[in-house]
Subunit: 234 residues, 2 copies
Amino acid sequence: MDLGSFIVSFDEVKVDVSRFFDLSHVIENGMPVYPGDPEPSVERVASLDEEGVNLTRLVMGSHVGTHIDAPIHFVEGGSSLDEIPLSTLMGEGVVLDLSYREVGTGLSWEDFEKFSSLVKEGDIVLIYTGTSDHWGEEGWDYRRFTYIEDSGAMWLLEKDVKMVGIDCMSVEKFGFSEPVVHRLLLGSGVPLIESLSKVMGELVGNRVFVICLPLKLKGVDGGPARVIACLIEQ
Amino acid sequence: MDLGSFIVSFDEVKVDVSRFFDLSHVIENGMPVYPGDPEPSVERVASLDEEGVNLTRLVMGSHVGTHIDAPIHFVEGGSSLDEIPLSTLMGEGVVLDLSYREVGTGLSWEDFEKFSSLVKEGDIVLIYTGTSDHWGEEGWDYRRFTYIEDSGAMWLLEKDVKMVGIDCMSVEKFGFSEPVVHRLLLGSGVPLIESLSKVMGELVGNRVFVICLPLKLKGVDGGPARVIACLIEQ
């Protein structure tokens, strides 16, 4: 019995669920964080040798590693992490390859428009920029990441997508004066997934089935999530 | 277009994925914890009013709320949380109704044996004891929860299940002298889900499809998880 292999059918699409890719970074001491954010602390507080059990204390910001931005992160009265429905966190989507743009540049309406035929209403759109290829790289300047421009955010809203993910620490240009892209997307009830891993590069150009399960933090602006996706087989 | 509804097919079984139940507790200040464990701290460190953004600091033990015990929790050299494969964390399973036993008693081989025909090799077995009905109850003594006896653990291993979940703070009797049940199950590479919510009561007696995604904590003994399940329709 091969329990790892089964088929999801949705309308005319199918996925082999044994082939899920894990798009989440590991959480560990010394991991990259958004410049200025606190580093997480993962500290063993009891051990098998001494106390007969391994136990760990975790300290982290709500936007550590692969994580969700809930609307309330930047929008007064917006939904918190525990209020995002499972129907938003799971579903069909697409992985767009924006890595032809140099890392650190902005993604505009025109950059997205060429993928127009790939994106469906209600999609979870995952944007691969290549920024994630530098995750953990010695000496990398983490202020340098590709971001979404206002017009790019408008394109995503025009497409009526339900969630947007990106392999960068933020959707917003580093050093922004106003968080316009966050406000546009979160203000329209579109949660964000930030800091997806480079594993998503394996899926570029394809329609995928996405499952994104964040911690159920009550009233909180965001939180770490486990995000997995697999190819939809036509 | 109803994006919330689609069908999973596995061999002869189907599930309507729009009907997933969330079996996870919310994580918040003052939530119940295993007696003696530290309470989590969820602290807003920046706010829209003052800093123009909501940010939160999270402090918690690795076994807070609905969480996974990885083998290394009690087994030297066992797998850590990030090493548990997705193929173990997802799949077919069953929700057994052990709530006919008084809350606080032990579950033996005989208690499980009556469900023998429901459980398949490789299942994720979720055990509803009714202990979860008291989660958050004023004055409840959290040392009182149903647990698995050695013979119950042997029954689960005999069935060759791949993961075991329970709606109690531990699978082990409170005040144990030796963590025999943990050692039996984790020592056989069977991760545990503890503190599932009473929502699982909606699914008792049924075969289900389970998705359990914990934080990807590197080298760690366990961690909070989001656990969802839905009915398999024959």
